[in-house]
Structure formats: structure tokens, C-alpha cells
């Protein structure tokens, strides 16, 4: 039992007022007389009346007690106290917990706090350990074995992944409300700025760390078209100082073991800088390293992949050739063939070739990757064309959008009404007044050699407009990538985020950068890497290498956000013997009902008393 608003008990002092009024009324009814012998003949008052007055006072006090209790919002907790209290220790395992605080890391400080917490628990209490990084992870189910809890605590280490502490605390709050957990202790640096205060107020917080000194590589950005040569690639390293004082560092970038850049940097408080890399000479991994005297080392290393050149030939088939410059401007490295339809078709099968039919139809039974743009309508005249259509809907599961769903502009011009074949898969619909027409569809989508994409409107007209139509430009390149898929690229993943496993039917054996090994079943097609570095994936006797980067961004901002603001964070003491917290049931309504009932009883008693008076 407990009270949510114990301050309302102040109103219980009104009981003294009630008692004083009753006492005053009684005292007022006392009269001093010279002698009592003259009154002996007078009748005594009915005993019923006297007791009624006492009962009225009791009923008034009962009504007051019920109302005061209703204001105090009493609650009861389910469950029995005999089983002890179940403590949930939430351990932050995100990358920011690796930050150094003097000679120790934040994680080591959190471990020490957690050990102290465990030492203070009663023998009957149960403890459960959960870790929070990219997701909520149960490290140790509820147990009373303290030694096991300490072993799990020692064996646990923070990951290179980002923190989902806010989401995890919301879930834990639901656990607590359901009664499965009685008391929650959170050991974290609380560097997440979006922590929900209402949840935090329910928990015992043990903040660790206070430094904000971190100079981080935010990203290594490589801008490369699918068929662009490494020499034309633009690469940039983004750096940022997350601390409140100036930081110095040495940036070095390597490409395939050769140093591309070495530069000393000085960044002011909160300052960010973009360091462009010199002209690349070859494809491969770009490794950026930052040497700085900061607290967090995980974000001082970053990778980027520069793909090898894969030339793509476009065979353009069009009734007129005046529209080609837009394509040349878009594709710097793609070889563009100008050919009349018969020649172009005749020259097919020369490497990776995509046929682009503009305002003309491909030949019948054409079995090569083709992009048909603005085909002529079947019906001649105005009945086969629409002047303006708005984007109505799209199929999000279409393979065209597998990499990105571009931000397409709302309207397209000059739409051809062309009937879609039976095996067509429509990716985009348009609306003309109340009529919905297909705008983009693919044919023979499963056959890489013969797949075609039909665009029913004048796509070059959209591409020529301006660079604001980036959505259509992305759509154009994604379509080319769909028709002529580039070779598989090495995997570059982020710690804490799901990564696809290589296709296969057997189990996957994973060798991590910290000599950890993991075997996933055949049905598992993804896994979540936890530390940055090189992963080796073995499946069906095929070996594939993946690079995993540490999560950065919010994790690099290691400054605690909870230092002074939260009241429970101010008490740095280990947990006292905590009281059990169980699912609450408020009794406010019942108290109000009880008060009303007592009031009615009192009114009835008064009415009966008046009748007795009259009698």
C-alpha cells in the first residue's frame, strides 16, 4: 500500500477541526447550576440520542478520512513481498561507454556501480541483467545467484553500436508497470539527448562519466556513379569536434595500403570540417584514421569503398537524335552508341549493354535489357496520350525501388496510354482526373538478360528541367542499375545494424575482429555485427569479407545530458534497500464512493435523529 499524493494527508488536520467543533458544541451544552437536587425529577435524555451524536461525529470523521484518502490517491501493489524484490539492472552497452574517464572507461565505472548495487541487495532479492545497445538484450535472467551476476557483469563489454536507450527504457517501463520487475537501476552515461523524462523518474539512475572530449570522423563520403572510374571519384572525410574545447588531431587516409593524405587538424568547440581527398588512383578500401587525444577511440577509424570501373554501354534507339545530349551529360563514363534501330539491334551482345528505346518500340521478342521511354501509343491521335498526370501511387516492393525510393516530382507531362502486358509489374501509377494509368512498369523482371522497364511519359523532359529533379535522375540511374546490375560490392556495414548474410543454403560461420566466432543456422539470412573491424563470413564453402564501422553521429557526442537536471541522478549513492514496486491499483474512486456512502448514512442518521427529537 502506498500513497501517490502523500501531501494530501495535510487535510487530515480537518479532523481536529471537526472534533473541536463537536467538543465545542458539547461544551456549549454544559450549564453550571447552583444545585442539582431541583433537577432530580427531570427526565434524562434518551440514550439513543446521545449515542447518535457520537455516531454522527464518527461518520463525519469517516467521511473526512475517505475524502482525504481519495485526495492522497492510495494504491496497492499486487504480489507478495515474501518472494523478495526483483531488480533489473540496465547496462548501457553502446559505443559511448568505451569513452575514457581518466584511467578507467565509463563501462568500468558502471561495472563498479553495478557491483556495489549487487552487494547491497537482500538475499531474497532477484536480479536480472539486461544490456542496451542497438536493442534490448537479456544478459542474465532473474536469479538470486549473485556470483553468476557478477561473472556476467565482468564478461560483458560495450559494443561499437549505437544506443537505443530511450526505446529500451520505454519497454522496461512497461515491464515495470506489469509487475514483472519491481525496481530498475540504469547504469549509463546518459549521452542520449532524447531520453524520456517520465520514464527516467521511475528508475534509479546511476550516471557515469562526465567528459565530452571527442574528436570523431563523422563519415568518409565517396561520390561515385555505378559506372564511374576511380579517377573521377570525389572523396571527402568529415570530421567534427564534439567537445567544448579545441581539439587537435592527425588525419591519415590510406588506399590499398598507400597513404593518400596525412594532415594535422585543429578544430574549435563544436566545429566540423570536410577534408577533400586528392585524386584517387585505384579502387579499393579507403581507410581514414584519426590520431587524437580524445576519450572515445571507436569513431577515430572509418572505411569507404571505391568501386572498380564497370563500363556500361547504352544502345540508344530513337526516331530522332536531337535528344542525346541530356544522356551524355548524365553519363560521363558510359559509352553511348548512336545507332539507328536496325544497326543497334544488330550490334547487341557486346558486353554489358542496355538498350534505350526513346519514343519507339523495341522489336517483337526482343530479349535484351531495355528501357523503353515514352513509347508511342497504340491508338493514334489524342485518344492515346494524356497531357498531364500526377503521381498516384507506387509499389514499394517493386525491385526498382530496392535501393532507394526517390522523391519523385508530383506531375509528369505527355503520358502515353500503352496497354501493359500480362506479365508486367507496375511500379508507378499516375492519376489523370479520375483515371489511374500505369506510368512505370517492368516486364520479365526475373530474367536479368531480358528484363525491360517501360516509362510511359517523357522522362528526358523531366531530366532536362533542372538539377532540382534529382528524384527522376536517381530513378533513371536506379533503372539502369536494375537493368544491368553492377557486380557485388564488398559489404560495409555499421555496428548494431542488421546486415544481410551471403546467399546460400547452409549454416554461416562468422569470424569477428575480436576473435569471436559465431555460427548461424541455415534459416538465418542476417546478423547484427557488434564491433567494428573485418568480418569473415563462410557459407557453402564461399568466403566473403565485410567491413563493419562503429556507429557514430549521436554516439560520438559523448557529453552526458543528464548530469544535473535529473533529481535521481544527483544521488550518486548506491541503491539503498529498495522498496518493492509492484503494479499499482489506485483506490481513489473507491475512497470517493466510500465517502459518499458514509455521507449518505450520516444524512439518514440525521434525519432519523430529527424524528427522534420530534418524538
Amino acid at each position: 500500500m502506498g500513497l501517490l499524493e502523500p501531501s494530501a494527508l495535510v487535510f487530515a488536520s480537518f479532523a481536529v477541526l471537526l472534533w473541536w467543533l463537536a467538543w465545542r458544541e458539547r461544551r456549549r451544552r454544559v450549564r453550571t447550576v447552583p444545585a442539582l437536587f431541583l433537577w432530580q425529577a427531570l427526565p434524562r435524555p434518551p440514550a439513543r440520542r446521545s449515542s447518535l451524536r457520537d455516531w454522527l461525529l464518527i461518520l463525519q470523521l469517516g467521511t473526512l478520512a475517505a475524502l482525504v484518502l481519495a485526495l492522497a490517491r492510495p494504491y496497492s501493489e499486487a504480489g507478495s513481498h515474501e518472494a523478495g524484490t526483483r531488480h533489473l539492472l540496465v547496462l548501457d552497452l553502446s559505443a559511448s561507454m568505451q569513452a575514457r574517464e581518466g584511467e578507467k572507461t565509463r563501462w568500468q565505472l558502471a561495472q563498479a556501480r553495478a557491483r556495489e548495487y549487487l552487494d547491497r541487495l537482500a538475499p531474497t532479492d532477484e536480479v536480472e541483467l539486461v544490456g542496451v545497445a542497438h536493442r534490448l538484450q537479456v544478459l542474465l535472467p532473474a536469479t538470486r545467484d549473485r556470483e553468476q551476476a557478477r561473472r556476467v557483469l565482468e564478461d560483458t563489454a560495450p559494443y561499437d553500436s549505437e544506443s537505443q536507450l530511450a526505446t529500451a527504457l520505454a519497454e522496461i517501463s512497461a515491464w515495470r508497470q506489469s509487475g514483472s520487475v519491481h525496481r530498475v537501476a540504469v547504469f549509463s552515461d546518459f549521452a542520449d539527448p532524447d531520453l524520456p523524462q517520465p520514464f527516467l523518474e521511475q528508475f534509479d539512475l546511476f550516471p557515469v562519466g562526465g567528459t565530452d572530449q571527442n574528436l570523431a570522423i563523422e563519415a568518409v563520403q565517396v561520390t561515385q556513379h555505378p559506372w564511374q572510374a576511380p579517377e573521377d571519384v570525389q572523396a571527402t572525410v568529415h570530421l567534427r569536434n564534439f567537445s567544448r574545447r579545441t581539439q587537435h588531431g592527425l588525419l591519415s587516409v590510406e588506399s590499398d595500403g598507400q597513404v593518400l593524405l596525412q594532415s594535422g587538424l585543429t578544430l574549435g568547440s563544436g566545429e566540423s570540417v570536410r577534408v577533400p581527398l586528392p585524386r584517387l588512383k585505384k579502387s579499393g578500401w579507403l581507410v581514414a584514421k584519426l590520431a587524437a587525444d580524445d576519450a572515445l577511440a571507436a569513431d577515430n577509424l572509418a572505411w569507404a569503398w571505391v568501386a572498380p570501373p564497370e563500363p556500361l554501354e547504352l544502345c540508344l534507339v530513337a526516331p530522332r537524335q536531337s535528344n542525346w545530349p541530356w544522356l551524355r551529360a548524365l553519363l560521363h563514363s558510359a559509352s553511348v552508341l548512336r545507332a539507328a534501330p536496325p544497326d543497334c539491334v544488330r550490334e547487341r551482345a557486346r558486353g554489358r549493354t542496355v538498350y534505350l528505346f526513346y519514343r519507339t518500340l523495341p522489336p517483337a521478342s526482343f530479349a535484351a535489357p531495355a528501357l523503353v521511354i515514352h513509347p508511342p501509343p497504340r491508338e493514334e491521335g489524342e485518344g492515346g496520350r494524356l497531357s498531364r498526370a500526377s503521381i498516384a501511387d507506387w509499389d514499394g516492393s517493386h525491385p526498382l525501388w530496392q535501393h532507394a525510393l526517390p522523391d519523385l516530382q508530383a506531375t509528369v507531362e505527355r503520358v502515353s496510354l500503352y496497354p501493359t502486358p500480362a506479365d508486367a509489374s507496375v511500379a508507378l501509377w499516375g492519376r489523370v482526373q479520375e483515371r489511374v494509368v500505369p506510368l512505370v512498369w517492368s516486364v520479365s523482371g526475373n530474367d536479368t538478360a531480358g528484363r525491360q522497364v517501360w516509362v510511359a511519359f517523357d522522362l528526358p523532359g523531366k531530366l532536362e528541367l533542372s538539377t532540382d529533379d534529382e528524384g527522376w535522375t536517381v530513378f533513371f540511374f536506379e533503372t539502369l542499375a536494375f537493368l544491368a546490375p553492377p557486380n557485388p560490392q564488398p559489404s560495409l556495414w555499421v555496428a548494431g545494424r542488421a546486415a544481410p548474410l551471403p546467399p546460400g543454403a547452409g549454416a554461416t560461420r562468422i569470424h569477428g575482429p575480436r576473435q569471436q566466432q559465431q555460427t548461424l543456422g541455415p534459416e538465418q539470412n542476417w546478423f547484427v555485427p557488434l564491433w567494428q573491424g573485418e568480418y569473415r563470413l563462410e557459407r557453402d564453402e564461399q568466403v566473403r569479407t565485410a567491413i563493419v564501422q562503429a556507429a557514430r553521429g549521436a554516439e560520438s557526442d559523448i557529453a552526458p545530458k543528464l548530469a544535473v537536471t535529473h533529481p535521481s541522478a544527483a544521488s550518486q549513492q548506491p541503491a539503498r534497500r529498495p522498496a518493492a514496486v509492484r503494479p499499482r491499483q489506485e483506490w481513489t474512486t473507491w475512497m470517493l464512493a466510500l465517502g459518499a456512502i458514509v455521507l449518505l448514512v450520516e444524512a439518514w442518521a440525521v434525519s432519523q435523529g430529527v424524528r427522534w427529537n420530534g418524538h
Partner: protein
């Protein structure tokens, strides 16, 4: 204000008698005197040497000379004129003492709004003034069970200026203890005080047997007794409203709950009237003057009407 003026003012206030009686009352009381027949006694200093003669100025009678008579009492002028020796007999000066006993029990102050004790003090002061105005000796007393021996007696005063002492005695009386008529009677009887008129100022709201015995003893000793029963309105109409009351005896603190309605009111009035009538009957039988003095009528009507009509004053 100068210092001597201040001292003069302080001296005046120190000697000023407590104002029990309004100043304009004294000339009204000057016209009154005790009218009740009461036993007298020779004045102090005029006690006769023998039973049949006494010293004095007033010749009471003559008788023939006998052997052994004091020749100082021989009327030589009559002997020369009548040639017969005559002895002058004198009458001693008589005086009648008045005892005024005030009941200072708690019952006299049961109702603070109608303080019967204050009324009794004023009444006693007025009676003392009436006596002293005519140089009649008066002695005041207060009786209560809380007093040592149950009674406190003042000195006996005869002179009019001694009224100031009477006022001071009365002013120091405060309600305490219970009613004890026996102690008052014993104070008179055991101290062998001279006979006179004993005036009791009380509400007499005690069981009648506590009153009749002492009064009967006083009458048996030849004292004249007047019982002035002071009754306030609250004694006749205790409550103006309410249903249930808890009564507390002013003297014994005993409590009793009563149910107050018309029936109860009638029963109480009946009991009070019966008690007053019983006291009156007893007084009639034993020669005690019983006067009911309603305090609500005021002290002026009490002196000029009630006590005059009862012939205590004239």
C-alpha cells in the same frame, strides 16, 4: 502633571472605598432603618452592677430606700421635698446587634451573567450602612465550606465611618466552596455572641434539611433571623432553548444530563416553587423572616420595596 499632584491622586485612589453602592444611594438609605423586632442587649459599658440596677443616665424608676442601697442613688431632692428617702433606678442603654451573613458558595456565582454574590455584597453593604447610619452595631460574616471553620466574621462596627471597613470586607469576598449554614450558625452559637438580628443572604438552593437545623438553633438561642433568598432569573428559567443539556453542580461539580422541553420546564419550576414554599413554611413556623429577593428587580427595588414590604426595613 506635577509629581505632588500625582501622589495626591494616588493617595485618593488608595483611600477610596470600593464602590459597592452608588454614591447617590446613600441619601436614600439614610431614610431607612431596621424595622424588624429583634432582641436587644445592654450597651457595652452600661452593664448593671446588679440585676435590678444599672448605670446610666436615664432614670427608669424610684423605689423606697432599703438597707444596703447605694447612697449615691438616693434622690436627695425628693427626700428634702417629700421627706421620704427614695432610691433612683436607672435603665441601661440597650442596643440590638445585626449580623449579616453572606453566602459565598459557588452556587451564588453559578451564572456569570447574573452574579448573585455581587448582588448579595451590595445588599449586605446597604444593610450595614443602614445600621451604622443609626449607630447600631453591625457585624458581617461570610460562610462557605471552603473557609476555615466554615465562616469568616468581621469586627463589630458601630461608627458610621467604619462603613469603609465593611465595604472592604465585602469587597474581598469571592465565591468558593459549598453552602454551609451549619458553620454560620455554629460561629454565632459557639462564640457566644450577643443576641441580635441574623440576616442570611443566600439563594438557599440546598436541600431544606441543611437550612432548617441551623435556623432552628439560632431561633432557639433567641436570635431574630431573616432569610433573604436571592433568586436570579436563571434560577427560574435556566435555559432559553436547546434540547439536551449537561448540568454541572456549581459546588460539587457533579454532572447530570437532562432533557429540556416544556414538560421538563414545568417540572423544574414546580420543584423550585416547592422548595421556596417549604422554606417559607418553615420560616413561618419558626418565626424566621423569609423574603424572596429577585435579583433581576435591582437593588433599588429590593431596598425600597421588597425589604420594606417584608418589614425588614422601615
Amino acid at each position: 502633571m506635577r509629581w505632588w499632584h500625582r501622589r495626591s491622586t494616588a493617595a485618593t485612589s488608595a483611600t477610596r472605598p470600593p464602590e459597592l453602592l452608588p454614591l447617590d444611594w446613600y441619601h436614600k438609605l439614610d431614610r431607612l432603618q431596621i424595622g424588624l423586632a429583634r432582641p436587644s442587649t445592654p450597651r457595652l459599658g452600661s452593664k448593671p452592677f446588679r440585676r435590678e440596677s444599672a448605670h446610666g443616665l436615664e432614670v427608669h424608676a424610684y423605689r423606697p430606700y432599703a438597707w444596703g442601697d447605694d447612697l449615691r442613688h438616693l434622690d436627695w431632692n425628693a427626700y428634702a421635698r417629700l421627706d421620704q428617702p427614695l432610691i433612683r433606678r436607672f435603665r441601661a442603654e440597650q442596643e440590638s446587634l445585626t449580623y449579616v451573613f453572606v453566602d459565598i458558595s459557588q452556587s451564588m456565582s453559578a451564572d456569570p451573567t447574573e452574579d448573585k454574590l455581587a448582588f448579595a455584597r451590595t445588599l449586605a453593604a446597604g444593610l450595614a450602612y443602614v445600621c451604622l447610619r443609626r449607630h447600631e452595631p453591625v457585624q458581617l460574616g461570610a460562610f462557605s465550606s471552603a473557609l476555615p471553620e466554615g465562616c469568616a466574621l468581621s469586627a463589630r462596627w458601630r461608627q458610621r465611618p467604619q462603613f469603609l471597613s465593611a465595604i472592604r470586607f465585602l469587597s474581598e469576598l469571592a465565591a468558593r466552596g459549598g453552602t454551609d449554614f451549619g458553620a454560620a450558625a455554629a460561629a454565632l452559637l459557639h462564640r457566644n455572641l450577643p443576641p441580635g438580628l441574623v440576616i442570611f443572604l443566600s439563594d438557599f438552593l440546598v436541600p431544606l434539611e441543611q437550612v432548617t437545623g441551623p435556623l432552628r438553633q439560632l431561633r432557639a438561642r433567641g436570635l431574630a433571623v431573616a432569610a433573604l433568598q436571592l433568586l436570579a432569573d436563571s434560577d427560574r428559567e435556566p435555559f432559553q432553548g436547546g434540547r439536551q443539556w449537561r448540568l454541572r453542580d456549581a459546588e460539587s461539580s457533579e454532572e447530570r444530563e437532562v432533557w429540556w422541553d416544556e414538560t421538563s420546564r414545568a417540572l423544574y419550576r414546580q420543584a423550585l416553587d416547592r422548595h421556596v414554599q417549604a422554606l417559607r413554611d418553615f420560616s413561618t413556623q419558626h418565626g424566621v423572616l423569609h423574603v424572596v429577593v429577585p435579583t433581576a428587580n435591582g437593588i433599588e427595588r429590593c431596598f425600597l420595596e421588597t425589604l420594606v414590604q417584608a418589614r425588614l426595613l422601615c
